[in-house]
């Protein structure tokens, strides 16, 4: 196991800059998730850590060693790919033993390590099968088994659950987390799915357009997003945003509706700001309640555990999540009242505004 330090790492393909100076510290045994929308550079960064892409600038350190010019096989890492990348002409056992065979590990040791890894992943009955004879979930486990037998310093996962169906994804999520808790190997995991990031990570690195937007524990990111991008990206359903102007009484929406704020923001009155409010922090009030936003219920999505409402209000659609069962009907007029203590404020550049 080892810590990983990424210092001012840059990557360009010709004139196009993909990674624009990224700094991340990953502690020994930590489970870090790189998350962001497609094209944000998260997979490129992971491939640079793996040594599959050259580094244009900066340093990557694994343990005490700068690995910029170290070939992938000498970095003591193992990677699980989105497409699993199993060798189709080898059995499960051969796939898992391949790296050990190349290293010249004895047959007996190979058998023991493959057997142990297979047992821990429930692959023992499948050892003689070929990848084409396995389901998606089984293939993913073999890919993980192939990584485990190497006993690397760092595990790298590149969107490993993207090809699985929703149910299997939830199951494999738990399995990967359980595996990490057992092995305690430093893990860097790339995903575009913020639910995966929230549920699995010790630390999340949110990336956007080649830069790091915020690094923090999942709930820190959820509760205190550093900017509007993180606020909108982390959380499902996504945060609602209402543009307005800060006045003494609170946030004044373009229609003149005043939404009271509990705390005083650190910017002067008259500043244009955006209020961010999570769907579960919007309360339904009777139509016409003062300090609330008038709205009309558009869509009702009961999920069993809770109910998601899409409502039409000034500035567009807003999402509301109700924990209790809902008796509202589509087309019904309601009023929405943001919980003032849970409001997030962002300036015109999208940066978080602190309260004083």
């Amino acid at each position: 196991m080892a810590n990983v330090a990424i210092r001012d790492v840059r990557k360009s393909f010709g004139a196009v800059s993909i990674i624009k100076g990224v700094d991340v510290d990953i502690q020994d045994g930590e489970f870090v998730i790189l998350v962001g929308p497609s094209g944000c550079g998260k997979s490129t960064l992971l491939r640079m850590i793996a040594g599959l892409e050259d580094i244009t600038g900066g340093d990557i350190r694994i343990g005490s060693r700068i690995v910029n010019d170290v070939p992938p096989k000498d970095r003591d890492i193992a990677m699980v790919f989105q497409s699993y990348a199993l060798y189709p002409h080898m059995t499960v056992a051969e796939n898992m033993a391949f790296s050990l065979k190349l290293k010249g590990v004895s047959q007996a040791e190979q058998k023991k390590r493959v057997g142990d890894a297979a047992a821990s992943l429930g692959l023992t009955p499948l050892l003689d099968r070929y990848p084409r004879q396995l389901s998606g979930g089984q293939r993913q486990r073999v890919a993980m088994g192939r990584a485990i037998v190497r006993d690397p310093q760092v595990f790298l996962f590149d969107e490993p659950l993207s090809n699985l169906d929703a149910k299997l994804r939830v199951q494999m999520r738990a399995e990967i987390k359980e595996l990490h808790q057992r092995l305690k190997t430093t893990t860097i995991y790339v995903t575009h799915d913020q639910i995966e990031a929230m549920t699995m990570a010790d630390k999340i690195v949110v990336m956007h357009d080649g830069i790091v937007e915020q690094i923090g524990a999942p709930l820190d990111l959820y509760d205190r997003p550093a900017n509007r991008f993180v606020a909108g990206f982390i959380g499902s359903p996504a945060m609602n945003f209402l543009d307005g102007r800060l006045e003494e009484g609170g946030l004044v929406l373009p229609s003149g509706t005043v939404l009271p704020l509990d705390l005083r923001p650190s910017v002067p009155a008259g500043t244009k700001i955006t209020l961010g409010i999570r769907p579960e922090h919007l309360q339904i009030a009777p139509a016409g309640t003062p300090g609330s936003i008038p709205a009309t219920v558009s869509v009702i999505e009961p999920t069993g555990a809770d109910t998601t409402l899409i409502v039409k209000a000034e500035g567009g659609n807003l999402t509301v999540v109700l924990r209790e069962r809902c008796t509202l009907k589509a087309g019904e007029a309601v009023a929405l009242r943001p919980v003032p203590q849970q409001a997030h404020l962002f300036d015109e550049q999208g940066k978080r505004i602190a309260f004083v």
Binding site: A50, G51, K73, A85, Y87, P88, H89, L102, R132, R146
Partner: protein, 310 residues
């Protein structure tokens, strides 16, 4: 009996299929199947020039395989075909595999090289044969001239006139002519391999050689099946390059004689021996055809077993 709309549709469909298929069948039967069967039939008759004599059963086949005059020539030529097959398998197909790997890695100027390696394939074999005959000319050929200029006079030879080098020179010329074909087929096969598999192998610690041996070679098995089968057929039908470069007699002293030349000499005669024997020629052609069909099928079946699905 009235025809239902469904039956009418079926009839119309069948007529349309027949309209498309029948002309092709007639054409193939007339110009492919009939000549092959005729050639097969010729093998069972005695021939005087172009005049067909009496039915002789398997006499021509016995003469080709065991006759005192014909058999030594045939078996000598067959052996040369086998040498050519083995050598071309290594030089042409093996060389193609390694060239494909170089191109796969997209070195500087790979687009140019990808075209350049295929250019000789589209040249006429007659032109290639003539070109190599000039290259190998003992007096002014570029090969010997190069050796002289490097001070390696002792290595200069009459390449096509020396029994020990003539067949090798033909094989080399053929490999130069066709190496672009296996190169492109292997390149296409390599490009079909998901790149993550190559990356996973690199992470697993493969050296370049281990990567080629353990991952790339098994995964281009479908390309190998096609190339090995085509080369097998080509090596036993080999004719143009030997014909252009060393003539019908497989000179010097039959050291470059191959079955294609023997067949041609036997069936159609040549300048030094004006004897024509369609019966023996057809028997040889038939045996060659059966040998190629049987062994190429076996080879294909064996190679197909190595192929795997991604």
């Amino acid at each position: 009996m009235p025809v239902s709309p469904k039956q009418a549709r079926t009839l119309k469909h069948r007529s349309w299929v027949a309209f498309l298929v029948i002309p092709s069948i007639v054409f193939m039967s007339l110009f492919v199947v009939y000549p092959i069967l005729s050639a097969f039939a010729y093998a069972f008759y005695d021939w005087q020039g172009l005049a067909r004599g009496e039915f002789v059963g398997l006499k021509n086949f016995r003469e080709v395989l065991f006759g005192a005059t014909m058999a030594p020539v045939v078996w000598n030529a067959f052996l040369h075909n086998v040498y050519a097959l083995i050598a071309l398998m290594i030089v042409q197909n093996g060389g193609g595999f390694f060239l494909a790997w170089l191109l796969y890695k997209e070195p500087f100027g790979f687009r140019f090289h990808r075209v350049a390696v295929f250019v000789p394939v589209v040249l006429s074999t007659i032109i290639v044969g003539f070109l190599w005959k000039l290259f190998l000319n003992p007096n002014f050929g570029v090969i010997n001239q190069a050796l002289y200029s490097l001070g390696l006079d002792a290595l200069a030879k009459p390449w096509l006139g020396d029994s020990s080098t003539a067949l090798g020179a033909l094989i080399l010329a053929n490999a130069w002519h066709f190496v672009g074909f296996p190169t492109l087929v292997y390149l296409a096969g390599m490009q079909r391999i998901p790149p993550e598999i190559i990356e996973a192998a690199r992470l697993d610690g493969t050296s370049e050689w281990q990567l080629l041996k353990n991952i790339v070679w098994p995964l281009v098995a479908p390309s190998t099946t096609i190339l090995f089968t085509l080369l097998f057929i080509g090596a036993f039908n080999w004719f143009e390059i030997p014909y252009v470069m060393v003539g019908l007699d497989g000179s010097p002293f039959g050291t470059t004689d191959v079955l294609g030349l023997v067949f041609y000499r036997t069936a159609f005669g040549n300048q030094s021996a004006s004897i024509q024997n369609f019966g023996l020629g057809s028997a040889l052609a038939t045996l060659l055809f059966l040998f190629i069909v049987v062994f190429a099928s076996m080879l294909t079946l064996w190679l197909r077993r190595r192929e795997i699905q991604f």
